[in-house]
């Protein structure tokens, strides 16, 4: 029986954001935007969804005089991401 894939992570942009955040301590909005190639609006919406699910934390502050949004993966987010990857692997290995 295949494990169920987390619907929140099974989306291209959210998955990309989680992949990046799983590898770094934290990343700011500009870096995530550059890495994913997403529009600011779309990225912002997806970040809010991940934040609402408790997968990431979002901290708004300033870098010098410029506003800066910093995202960080939470423990539950890291666990969900790990389970998602495990589920993907089991899908592929049982093909």
């Amino acid at each position: 029986m295949f494990p169920k894939l987390d619907p929140l992570l099974h989306s291209e942009l959210r998955l990309a954001v989680m992949s990046i955040l799983s590898d770094v301590k934290s990343a700011d909005f500009t870096f995530l935007k550059k890495q994913t190639g997403a529009t600011a609006g779309n990225l912002s919406v997806q970040i809010d969804k991940l934040s609402a699910a408790g997968y990431i934390t979002v901290e708004k502050g300033f870098k010098g005089k410029m506003p800066c949004t910093t995202c960080r993966i939470t423990e539950s987010g890291a666990e969900a991401f790990r389970k998602y990857v495990e589920a993907l692997k089991s899908y592929i290995s049982q093909k």
């Binding site: 291209e12 998955l15 992949s19 590898d23 301590k25 010098g64 990857v85």
Partner: protein
Amino acid sequence: MELNEELTAQQSLDLITKTLNNSRRDITRDGGKYFILWGILLAVFSLIVYALWKSTGRAEWNFLWFAMPLVGYPLSAALKKRSESVPDNLVSELISKTWRIFAVFAISVSALIMLSSFLIKDKLAGMFLSVSITPSILMLFGISESFSGILLKSPIVIAGGLVVGIGGLLVYYLSGLLVEQMLIFTFAGIVLALTGVLMKNQKN
């Protein structure tokens, strides 16, 4: 990248791999500029100390080395402030910490040996100063550079560390020269800067 709920398992795994690789590559590339900066500084300072030591015959010019972090750290901070914000990952953090430890050891060991030889005012102070510090710094440099190479999975960088650490020591002991040993550090600076160039040009 737009929303696409129709990802297959393979596509999802590919996306994760590609995103991680791109992100890691950009983080590594960003770190390259600091290697170039410190490499150039090391080469320039070694040439300045070499020129002054050679022309005056005074080993005390080695105290100039302490000006290197005073120049390097503000430049490094300015470089970080001016460039795009790039996060740290495990590899970049380990490389950064390795070189910070190198700096702590290099500065404190040099300071201890230089100050003790200065305070003792021994006739051979100049000789003691030059003989004791260089091998230690070369070994520390070689270890730090090789470890960076392991983290970067770059055999060229590992080899660079071995060449400076072991090759530099051999040149130092076999040549028996005092002033010219500064040129080993010039070479080490070039190796460091080239490591930075490799990092900046890293592909997935």
